[in-house]
């Protein structure tokens, strides 16, 4: 029998759970835990420069690996600084465990120094939370936290740990709980066979079907099964922003992603479809546009692991509660037993789709000519080529995020890492750091803008300390591009605070941390700069790329319209 203090139990549990790395920042209420971390070498602690970055870094790791990211912060401001990152993970269903120090039990409720009711503060943005009431319950509570974070529809779990729970003098028996049971939590796996049969019948009869798949394919590791199903049926497929890479984007059946800034052909196909097979997607407002005009002729099959996602905004005709992979595999076995529909049945549908594709071919944006300002889109395409399409790509939020999603073509899941639901500026850089530290052999690119980057740029210091060689591609348009775009479209170009004056000299700033920065102002400078930047995978390089500040992201759905109501450029609309 082994007696350990609460703090040592935490360190030991992390090791036993297979956690290699955690992100955090010390402070009074967490000091016993930090001392325990100091006295072991199984778990690496990455000291960030702001707690929000700790959550984003853990989140980036979680999105790339599929395993829970782990964060350790102190009470009060340490914990409240983490809230934005917790909310980011919650909105995108990312597994994360956040350990928060708390003031000692006897002080709780007395407005003690650095006291915050963090369980209360985070309640609406966590999958669940725990407060430790006795040191002996630490192993079981932590096991529950990891189990909840990673199973079912994943999400962040907060564990609040009062300082006296980790006191070095209080020792209790430690046993790593291999299994844990929560009587009120039994996430479904298999879908209802009758419903799946019904869905398959509809798929075989459909003449204008579209797959619409989301982040559930990525988190559910169902990408291969999905690809098999889609290719077996010969249907077109569009993914959400979160679902990018769930199906190889270069494939002919892929229509790219859909929604507000989705591809023309994806939105057109959705609008005209007679059957939509939604898997692991949640019909959010950035996808559906006006729900009352959404896909007027389509029947809807909706597969999701979370029953509350089904019929939340759009009524499903065939709801199937189940894990994406399991349901898809069951669909495949049903199809194997059936005669498949003749490919001619879809010929007319593909003709329409190819027609929509042809309409926009070569008209997506106007590339720059020598001597002109670079277009942000062509920078993404150049980075795509420079990394052979194989990099992990993180983004911040805004125009550059949409351009990255549109022009970097992802063949694999877990490669496009973006804050889709919450839309958190500042996410991209720390997320890239979290990915790079766990995938040192891979190129990790962070597409950002000068607005977003300045929200988390203090992490340059963390990258220096721990050798995270991420490539930061700053699409510098000297403005908050997406805000400015909306102001152009809806506020007669009154640019209220969407400018970015007094920008730092990014090159000097980066160099102050001992890193390389390359400024790219012209068309001609781009190629050599990229070659230099990607020469060494492990070197942090900052590319400050000046792009056309007047560029807009298109297509853009017209507010309150249907899926097919889109602005296609500054002068064209559907």
């Amino acid at each position: 029998m082994e007696l350990l203090s609460g703090a040592d139990m935490i360190a030991r549990f992390l090791k036993d759970e297979g956690v290699e790395r955690i992100y955090g920042y010390p402070g009074g209420a967490a000091l016993h835990i930090y001392d325990a971390l100091f006295r072991q070498d199984s778990v690496q602690h990455i000291l960030v420069r702001h707690e929000q970055a700790a959550t984003h870094a853990a989140d980036g790791y979680a999105r790339a690996s599929g395993k829970p990211g782990v964060v350790l912060v102190t009470s009060g401001p340490g914990a409240t600084n983490a809230v934005t990152g917790i909310a980011t993970a919650y909105m995108d269903s990312i597994p994360m465990v956040v350990l928060c120090g708390q003031v000692a039990s006897h002080l709780i409720g007395e407005d003690a120094f650095q006291e915050t009711d963090i369980v209360g503060v985070t309640r609406p943005v966590v999958k669940h939370s725990f407060s430790i009431k006795h040191p002996s319950e630490i192993p079981e509570v932590l096991k529950k936290a990891f189990y909840l974070a990673a199973t079912g529809r994943p999400g962040p779990v907060v564990v609040d740990i009062p300082k006296d729970m980790t006191a070095p003098t209080e020792r209790y028996e430690y046993v790593y709980p291999k299994k844990v049971k929560i009587r009120s939590y039994n996430p479904v796996t298999r879908g209802h066979t009758g419903q799946i049969k019904k869905a398959v019948e509809m798929m075989l009869k459909a003449r204008r079907p579209v797959f619409y798949t989301g982040g559930g394919i990525v988190t559910g590791r169902a990408s291969e099964a999905l690809t098999d199903l889609v290719q077996r049926l010969g249907f077109p497929i569009t993914t959400t922003l979160m679902g990018i890479g769930g199906y190889p984007q270069g494939d002919r059946q892929s229509l790219g992603w859909l929604g507000m800034h989705g591809s023309y052909e994806a939105n057109m196909a959705m609008h005209h479809a007679d059957l939509i097979i939604a898997i692991g997607a949640r019909f959010d407002d950035r996808v559906t546009n006006n729900t009352s005009k959404f896909c007027p002729t389509a029947k809807i099959v909706h597969v999701d692991i979370d029953p509350s996602s089904i019929s939340k905004t759009v009524r499903a005709d065939v709801p199937i509660v189940g894990a994406a992979g399991s349901v898809i595999n069951e669909m495949i076995s049903l199809l194997q037993a059936r005669e498949s529909a003749a490919p001619e049945a879809l010929a007319e549908w593909w003709q329409s789709i190819d027609g929509w594709r042809a309409e926009r071919e070569g008209k997506l944006y106007e590339p720059s000519k020598p001597g002109e300002a670079l277009k942000p889109q062509e920078v993404i395409e150049a980075v795509y080529r420079a990394t052979r399409g194989e990099a992990f790509v993180t983004t911040d939020v805004g125009q550059h995020q949409m351009f990255a999603a549109q022009y970097y073509k992802f063949a694999k899941p877990n490669r496009f890492i973006t804050s889709g639901g919450l839309g958190t500026m500042g996410f991209g850089f720390p997320a890239a750091m979290g990915v790079k530290l766990s995938y040192p052999q891979d190129d990790v690119v962070c597409f950002t803008g000068e607005g977003s980057f300045q929200m988390m740029m203090q992490e340059l210091s963390t990258c220096k300390q721990f050798g995270a060689g991420v490539k930061i591609v700053n699409l510098n348009n000297q403005s908050l591009g997406m805000v400015r775009q909306w102001q152009d479209l809806n506020y007669k170009s009154r640019h209220a605070h969407s400018y970015m004056e007094s920008l730092p000299d990014f090159a000097k700033l980066i160099e102050a941390y001992g890193f390389t920065a390359l400024k790219v102002e012209t068309h001609e400078e781009l190629a050599p700069a990229l070659e230099r930047a990607f020469a060494d995978t492990n070197e942090l390089v900052f590319l400050d790329i000046y792009v056309d500040p007047f560029e807009h992201v298109y297509p853009m759905q017209v507010p309150l319209g249907s899926m097919r109501d889109m602005l296609l450029s500054k002068t064209e609309r559907t």
């Binding site: 369980v119 209360g120 309640r123 609406p124 999958k127 669940h128 939370s129 407060s131 909840l148 929560i182 009587r183 009120s184 939590y185 979370d306 029953p307 509350s308 089904i310 019929s311 939340k312 009524r315």
Partner: protein, 163 residues
């Protein structure tokens, strides 16, 4: 439509706030709320009455079920059920009104459970409609204070909400 949802909830600190928080977070309605421990010490039973169309009620039950602390729930209004609420009312009881209060209480099968020279405290149980009617009947006489428990309910017959 009005629904009565009964929930078996882990008897854990913070569990109630998760349920209540969910309603405000998702813009759902709470009309009454009633919560107390059950015969099984690890569980509380919480009953909430809410108003919404079928789509809203479906979302409410799904989101409640998603809360880790919610062990089981039932929408009692889906079947035959018994609904009860208890109310204590303090009424002015002076002169002729003293008899009037007593008479009205008898009609409603309510009991006077506390008496002072100027005030009667009346206890009444029933469904929400009966309690509303009693309040209306007493209003002209002069209601001083009302305390209602909120609705509690249970399914009729063999149907159980238990582990």
């Amino acid at each position: 439509m009005r629904h009565i949802i009964s929930i078996l909830l882990e008897n854990e600190p913070g569990a109630l706030s998760r349920v209540v928080g969910l309603f405000s977070q998702r813009n759902f309605n709470i009309e009454t709320l009633n919560v107390a421990p059950t015969e099984e010490p690890s569980l509380s039973r919480l009953t909430v009455t809410t108003v919404g169309d079928d789509r809203v009620i479906e979302q409410i039950t799904k989101h409640l079920n998603k809360l880790i602390d919610v062990v089981k729930l039932v929408d009692l209004t889906e079947g035959n059920h018994i609904e009860r609420e208890l109310m204590l009312v303090k009424v002015k009881a002076l002169g002729a009104a003293r008899d009037e209060v007593k008479r009205t209480a008898d009609i409603f099968r309510a009991q006077i459970v506390d008496v002072t020279p100027s005030v009667y405290t009346v206890q009444i149980t029933g469904d929400g409609g009966k309690l509303d009617a009693f309040v209306q009947a007493m209003a002209p006489i002069g209601i001083l204070e009302v305390a209602r428990t909120g609705v509690s309910g249970i399914a009729r017959g063999d149907k159980l909400l238990s582990l």
